[in-house]
């Protein structure tokens, strides 16, 4: 029983688990909207490109690992 509790607590969803996906989703959405509005400067386009690279890596990892 004690072992079962340890396993279930290890699998529990924590608030920290949501920080990274919220950051990825929020920042990409924010940059996408700014880009569409023509508000990004040139160097920020490169930041946007770098961020989307990280986003792709994150999504690939998340899809492979699941929740």
């Amino acid at each position: 029983m004690a072992g079962t509790q340890r396993v279930s607590s290890a699998l529990a969803i924590r608030a920290e688990d949501f920080y990274l996906p919220i950051f990825v989703t929020g920042s990409i959405t924010y940059l996408t909207v700014l880009r569409m509005l023509g508000r990004l400067q040139r160097s920020e386009h490169d930041l946007s490109l770098a961020l989307i690279g990280l986003g792709v890596v994150y999504v690939a990892t998340a899809v492979l690992q699941g929740v």
């Binding site: 990409i28 040139r42 998340a62």
Partner: protein, 155 residues
Amino acid sequence: MSGWSGPAITAKVLLPLILISVVGIGSVPVHDAWGVAWIVRVVLPTFAVAIWLFINVGELRAYEGGLLYRRWVAWQKVPRNQISNVKRAFLCFAAVVLTDGSKLFFFPDPGTKRMLRSLESLGTRSSPEADAGLARAMIRCFSEWLLGLRYIKFR
């Protein structure tokens, strides 16, 4: 539509990716915390990335002989004698219309607007000097990018 570049990427990769994301959002049962976790941690980031990739219409730069255009990473040269027109497309998009009728879409950000205005006052054609200028500009781009400075400056 053959190959894996240009519009073929949108048709073969991006549209299916967005469709899969939408179907994924609609098919996830949200009965418990795990359903919410799946949406927040997997589906929403996938959707954001897919939307970004789908509307990544490209960027525009200038060099002495014309324009540089990239959809993803590599820049391609568009000599001025191949450019027929630059016009506003629907919503926030703009397009460089080439003489063969094809279009290069981009978002007209402040730097691009200034660049296009300055290009209108010039009428030069591509030349070896212009190509040398392009090489210098690309080296400067890369070195400034390495140093973390602004990507490129335009005259």
